[in-house]
């Protein structure tokens, strides 16, 4: 069905008309400027040279030269997640595009708005296995919200406009525009450009039906044991949605838990904050999810990391699910009411419908929660068994939080134990301050994401809480931060293990640590210095605060190599295949084996 799409008259030709003598590359740059793009994260190559030539000397868009295309995509994600604006990526054909795929897939899983421009071989060479040719459209088809191959410069303006619309509205996500080299050089053909983005084609539903809202508010107001279970959708809906969540919570008094992606939407210092839920969530959050009678899921998607064993997931609750993506509703957990709409809009509708109602007395429910809280599930031993003299990683994150929270830092992470410890022990008060790879779980995300966030917030304190294994996955981006004088801080919790792998091997494979030891590590302090960064090593607990302060006092980028206990586990934990009520806490006995059904779960 690969028919050419016939050109249709464009009622209001946008840039295409005035730019009829402009090359495709010039139209592209013009359109990016019209979209308000400040930064393009990219890496040049043969198939994008015409675009790079257009960017040469152009003061209106700043190009950030990364060291690897994966870094470009993650940096754009960091920029997007921290600013709420779309991140723009520019890479060449073939390896340029394939290197960016991990970042594109990451943005797809976490609903991050990206517009990724990829060069392609000239149209005449497509399909001939030309040099640096890859089927970018085919490869990115299932990790993008939409993608385009543009075959005529006349179609560029409308395509770019629609790409930005699709990336940033509805459930946000990455959009790829593949532009062959000859299309970058040629001027638009005589025929009129395409008309895109008709309402039949793309019209996300943002407002929920009024009768649903009334019923939902009624359920919440009459619930004895209500809970808000919030996710990244609230962050994506903009800061106003977080404010509205706080307002509705204040009206109803219901306790709040959040997914990894939703941290910051509700302040961690609030008495009704239960902490994160799920596999490494708090005991009180998971118990409250299990025991609630009305669950209000707002912008979360019942991920397997959140639900634990599905047949034991919150068995006695009525469930309301608010999501802008209809396909998220009833995907894994059947709900009693699915509300399709933008989280912010629906929250505003609910607040409106709540009116002057009085909140029900939830004293009994809160007392039960207080009982679960009393377990102090985040308590951890003062000393490690294996390395009694070493810093406990949880302590390091707690001190980092204590010494930085007044500066309202932006925290990025890599993936693994350190990520979970950051989520558990670093309290977040505001949205857009917590950037992590939740869905795809991409090691190597944190450093480039910190670079993107720092560009979006030049005066903010941006810290990548990292592990010594993850940080090596995009370590080359140290050079990017040096080049643009970005004062990002990388705080490595160095336990010389791929800690989460090691932990699972301890729990599941009788501590057979197959390939999870981080052998032949670089000297991170010297590595930092080699890139023009400051390097600090912390080995003793008594030096922890001083090391963190030295990191904060240094005006430029810093790597802190914080040596921590090797055997610390990330707890509490719902082991795979277990229910919310079967959490493993510090001090629980571990037999180190698991049956095959549980092993087979991710």
């Amino acid at each position: 069905m690969e028919f050419p799409v016939p050109g249709q008259p464009d009622p209001a030709p946008p840039a295409a008309n005035k730019s009829s003598a402009m090359s495709g590359a010039a139209i592209l740059v013009q359109c990016l400027i019209e979209q308000g793009v400040e930064y393009v994260f990219g890496y040049p190559g043969g198939a994008v040279l015409p675009i790079y030539d257009e960017l040469f000397g152009d003061e209106r868009i700043r190009h950030i030269l990364v060291r690897h295309e994966a870094g470009a995509a993650h940096a754009a994600e960091g920029y997007a997640r921290s600013t709420g604006k779309p991140g723009v990526v520019l890479v060449t054909s073939g390896p340029g595009a394939t290197n960016a795929i991990t970042g594109i897939a990451d943005a797809w899983m976490d609903s991050i708005p990206l517009v990724v421009i990829t060069g392609q071989v000239p149209t005449a060479l497509i399909g001939t296995d030309a040099f640096q040719e890859a089927d970018t459209i085919g490869i990115t088809r299932h990790c993008t919200k939409h993608n385009y191959l543009v075959k005529d410069p006349a179609d560029l303006a409308a395509t770019i406009k629609e790409a930005f619309l699709i990336a940033t509205t509805g459930r946000p996500g990455p959009v790829v525009i593949d532009i062959p080299k000859n299309v970058q050089i040629a001027v638009p053909s005589e025929r009129r450009g395409l008309v895109r983005a008709g309402a039949h084609r793309y019209a996300p539903q943002t407002v929920a039906p009024a009768e649903q809202i009334i019923e939902a508010v009624d359920w919440i107001a009459t619930a004895q044991r209500p809970i808000f279970y919030t996710g990244g959708g609230i962050i994506n809906a903009g800061p106003e949605a977080s404010r509205l969540l706080r307002q509705l919570q204040d009206m109803s008094g219901a306790p709040v838990t959040s997914t990894l992606m939703g941290l910051g939407a509700f302040p961690s210092t609030h008495p009704d904050w239960l902490g994160m839920l799920g596999m490494h969530g708090t005991f009180e959050a998971n118990m409250a999810m299990n025991q609630c009678d009305v669950m209000v899921c707002i912008g979360a998607r019942f991920d397997d990391r959140v639900t634990g064993r599905l047949d034991a997931f919150s068995p006695d609750s009525k469930k309301i699910h608010i999501d802008i993506d209809r396909s998220s509703i009833n995907k894994t957990v059947p709900v009693d009411m699915g509300i399709v709409g933008d989280c912010g809009t629906v929250l505003a509708q609910m607040i409106d419908a709540w009116g002057t109602r009085q909140a029900r007395n939830l004293g009994e429910w809160k007392a039960r929660i207080a009982g679960w809280r009393a377990r102090e599930c985040l308590a951890y031993p003062e000393r490690s068994v294996k390395n009694p003299g070493m810093i406990m990683p949880q302590k390091a994150v707690e001190r980092l939080h204590a010494l930085t929270h007044q500066r309202n830092p932006i925290i990025t992470t890599e993936v693994g134990q350190h990520q979970m410890w950051a989520a558990q022990y670093f309290g977040f008060e505001d949205p857009n301050k917590w950037l992590t790879s939740g869905g795809l779980g991409t090691m190597g995300y944190g450093l480039p994401a910190a670079i993107g966030a720092q560009l979006g917030h030049p005066d903010a304190l941006v810290i990548d809480i990292a592990g010594e294994a993850s940080i090596q996955m995009n370590i080359q981006e140290l050079g990017t931060a040096s080049q643009y004088r970005l004062p990002v801080k990388v705080f490595i919790l160095n336990n010389e293990y791929m800690g989460m792998v090691r932990q699972w091997q301890e729990l599941t494979y009788e501590s057979r640590y197959s390939n999870s030891y981080s052998d032949s590590l670089p000297d991170f302090v010297k590595l930092a210095e080699a890139y023009g960064w400051k390097g600090i090593r912390i080995t003793e607990e008594r030096d922890l605060d001083d090391g963190i302060m030295r990191m904060l006092d240094h005006p430029g980028p810093v790597i802190v190599d914080c040596m921590v206990a090797q055997d610390a586990n990330c707890l509490p934990m719902i082991p795979s295949g277990a229910a919310h009520t079967d959490m493993m806490l510090y001090g629980d006995k571990v037999d180190g084996t698991m049956d095959d059904e549980a092993k087979a779960l991710v």
Binding site: M1, P4, G138, R201, R326, N330, K331
Partner: protein, 173 residues
């Protein structure tokens, strides 16, 4: 006890999907089915508007009810998809399929093939002294039955279009 792979019970659904007729849309849809582990029993596609801008895709799929609901939601999520109609749940509908069936043989079997074709209102569209190509149109079960009979009478080749479906009554999808 060694672990076994479990399977769930499924039901058959016919989906009518209207889409922008643009490059890659078919790959998007079929790829979505493979990527998410859904089944395609049959798929037909052709453009249906005068300006060739819109195509109608008819997909016969099977799965548990919740999976069918997911399939519809995931299809609706694709930007070029205008509308997804589940004909199976939307009410009474007509399903038709066209098949070309080549049968070779002589003597009694050849006569019997022609006689059965007449009963099934299958039309010979090509004839040699040793073969027929029959064209048959109908619901898939009718086509199945005819092919099963021809199997005994010298069937050598089958081509089927897959199903197109439409709601009964005046209402359009």
């Amino acid at each position: 006890m060694p672990m076994k792979i479990a399977e769930a019970a499924s039901e058959r659904h016919v989906l009518a999907v209207t889409v922008d007729n643009e490059p890659g849309i078919l790959a998007k849809i079929t790829g979505l089915f493979t990527a998410r582990g859904y089944n395609i029993d049959s798929l037909t596609v052709a453009d249906i508007t005068e300006d060739h801008a819109v195509s109608r895709i008819t997909i016969v799929t099977n799965g548990p009810p919740r999976v069918i609901d997911q399939i519809e939601a995931q299809l609706e999520r694709l930007v070029p998809v205008h509308k997804v109609t589940d004909l199976t749940t939307a009410g009474p509908h007509v399903e038709r399929e066209l098949a070309l069936i080549k049968v070779t043989g002589t003597g009694e079997k050849r006569v019997e093939a022609l006689r059965l074709a007449d009963i099934f209102r299958a039309r010979p569209v090509d004839t040699t002294t040793g073969s027929f190509i029959f064209e048959i149109t109908g619901p898939p079960e009718k086509v199945d039955s005819f092919i099963a009979l021809m199997r005994e009478l010298g069937l050598v080749e089958v081509g089927r279009t897959g199903i197109v479906g439409m709601m009964r009554g005046a209402q359009a999808v």
